[in-house]
Symmetry: C2
Subunit: 436 residues, 2 copies
């Protein structure tokens, strides 16, 4: 008995080289090769690179750091049938990657991946497969790039009961909203972001919140020990935010960020990805440019903040290579029981409501009436000067109410004749928000 226990707490020694294959030699893949070449970690050897149209990659400038001994291939079977120990997947998407990685795990190869959609939708399943084949599946690069949120939570917050997560998980949205905070309008900034390579030609995954949602679900699994269905998490686009909203936010000592938040309430997890008003005094307001930030709030440890570069080839490569070292040195990660939990979106929060109206007597009274009908109290009414009466933007903030309650009132208000645009409703993020 005592001997058995001692064995449990013993470490393995590292005494041979771990062979590594890269799937994907794009921005992140070539950065991983560069980081490996620069640091020459003992015990790691890059042996294979897979990419479609591999010749183009093999002869690129980025390939110059790759050792001559590396096998370049466009046939995935060359990897799956090789003696490679770890497959590093940097291609993204569910298909065909999921099938390949299942084969790799089944063949006794560990997997390091930066694929957030795959891990959000199939992570639990793949983890089981990895466990059954006694190999590692790690994905530190899937959330917040070079910011070690996942390893920090797994190895450093396992002892806490984390009840709430808030994060800025999409660098593109953060870049756009930061620029808008400085006065630019959405369309201009989006175009700039596309030109700079921060945003895709179809920016929907970023601006509509699907990218952040996948990351939020991964973090919920790790920190809240809750498996969520990503499709059940409500998202709200940032594309309806206008410059005027930043002006009103500023009057409320706030700015606007795309916030991903989740909090556990018994067997339910309240989760949402949406633009929200964030107090300037909150850590969430600190993140600039394409930075990412995660705040984990624990019962015992209070708020812990992680922040840094959430995207880009080299920061993401840091996460990948760090994972690779952990796998090569056989460092397991702390496993705690994870449960499937229902997703809801009942946040009790003050709300920011922005209307654009053709001004006439009685509008405020109608809005106030609609809010009163659902039992929501108005906290303030803001109207900046200098706007024409026939196209007047103004703002109402409410006291704490459930978002679903406010939504009911907003449906009624949207039908008012005087409304020139669909009214905008944003949560105001306050530290003590709790679901009822």
């Amino acid at each position: 008995m005592a001997t058995k226990k001692k064995q449990i707490v013993k470490k393995k020694q590292i005494d041979s080289t771990v062979k590594v294959a890269l799937l994907g030699f794009g921005t992140v893949g070539s950065s991983v090769a560069r980081v490996l070449a620069a640091s020459k970690f003992p015990g790691l050897e890059l042996t294979h690179i897979f990419n479609r149209s591999v010749e183009r990659k093999r002869t690129s400038d980025a390939a110059k750091v790759v050792p001559a001994s590396v096998v370049w291939t466009e046939d995935i079977d060359d990897i799956l049938n090789s003696n490679v120990d770890v497959v590093v997947e940097l291609m993204g998407g569910l298909n065909p990657v999921e099938g390949w990685l299942r084969k790799a795990l089944t063949a006794g190869k560990s997997v390091v991946t930066a694929n957030k959609q795959l891990i959000a939708y199939r992570g639990a399943n793949l983890a089981k497969l990895a466990a059954s084949h006694n190999v590692h599946l790690v994905y530190g690069a899937a959330v917040a790039g070079g910011v070690p949120v996942i390893p920090g939570m797994l190895q450093g917050l396992g002892g806490d009961q984390v009840t709430r997560l808030s994060g800025i998980l999409n660098g593109t949205c953060n870049y756009i909203l930061n620029r808008m905070e400085g006065g630019a309008d959405y369309a201009t900034v989006l175009a700039d972001a596309q030109q700079l390579g921060y945003a895709e030609a179809d920016p929907s995954a970023d601006v509509d919140g699907f990218d952040a949602r996948a990351k939020l679900c991964i973090l919920s699994r790790i920190a809240l020990h809750s498996e969520l269905d990503p499709d059940a998490v409500m998202t709200q686009t940032i594309s309806t935010i206008e410059a005027i909203d930043f002006m009103y936010a500023k009057e409320l000592n706030c700015t606007i960020r795309q916030v991903s938040r989740a909090q556990r309430d018994g067997s339910v997890v309240h989760a949402r990805v949406a633009p929200m008003l964030v107090p300037l005094s909150s850590p969430m307001a600190w993140s600039h440019g394409t930075q990412n930030m995660v705040v984990a709030s624990g019962r015992f440890g209070g708020d812990v903040v992680f922040s840094g570069h959430g995207a880009g080839g080299e920061p993401t490569a840091v996460a990948v290579v760090s994972d690779l070292l952990a796998v090569a040195q056989n460092c397991g990660t702390v496993q705690l029981p994870v449960r499937k939990r229902q997703v809801a979106g009942e946040f009790l929060a003050p709300h920011y409501l922005r209307f654009v109206v053709d001004d006439r007597p009685g509008i405020v009274s109608s809005i106030a009436g609609a809010l009163a009908t659902v039992g929501a109290n108005i906290d303030s009414l803001l109207q900046r000067p200098g706007h024409p009466k026939h196209r007047l933007p103004f703002v109402v903030t409410t006291e704490r109410s459930l978002t679903t309650t406010i939504d009911k009132a907003m449906k009624a208000i949207a039908k008012l004749d005087c409304m020139l645009e669909r009214p905008l409703c944003l949560q105001i993020l306050v530290p003590e928000d709790k679901p009822e």
Copy 2:
């Protein structure tokens, strides 16, 4: 060969309970017991508690969460000769703890400790001993309490080349300087901190920088892969900071923090713990109250920020219990080669120099002359109104110079007849600081 490699990347399964002994049942020890009782982690069993005058502890309120099966003892041999798997040391100090932990490691017990002085001075040695007995030595709680800086760096930044660390590593100093930022004076705030239990009766370890220095050395080992002699790291007390310094700092868009910084420059590490001027736009200015913060700057990943509650029973217990889970589940930590490196303190930075003089003609010229002699350029001269001529505080800031260069000028300036107090010299922390 292939078989051997596969073995390396395999994980061990956990299939029995790990017995845990606590050494020390003070604030942190009792919090650890509380966290274990609240979360009932599978695979962990608290079996022994050691404390001097143990009866007093066993009958305390804090002991109510402790299972009846736990053996309370004041004889360390009861632990060392037991079948305990992991010893959790929360007593602090080098003696007699070091001897006890050496015995525990030699007996095949893993060690989890929050003891920063022990780990700073003897960590490398103890790690060797642990490795030779094939057991774990982990100390995530030794730096920044509940903020997972150590696990985050070990498991998440191993792939980067971290070249620079800056941290707010002492919550007591941060509390004092935050309160002074609000207008209070040092003596009042120190007395408050003592009453609140944030500061010891003899506050020297905190305010003079020795506590933070030990933590900086631990972080240097992990992130800079550099073993430093803690005694070789220069410290500067915060006790000479006055309210007026915060006013001048504000004019320079800065505040004042006790900053611990280290940066690698080839085979030398430049390190220093001192009050410094920190731009209000820097993450270092964000930390409030007793919060801790660490910024790690990597060649590939850029700046990564960790922040949260750096002290207190429960946040520290989170780090201890997280480590305990990792040890119980046999999760090793990434090992990278660490080298002994020479410590120097040559930071190239702008400097803030505050003088209190009996005003007379020629003072500025004398100061400027002394600075010119060493080749330091003046950047600005600040003099707030409302002070009497016979006791006039004023400030000179310099362009980037080495701190040792400025120190030479300061020695000459301190000898001027008109100086009523020893002049104060603080580095101004700017992002691009680099040793020459």
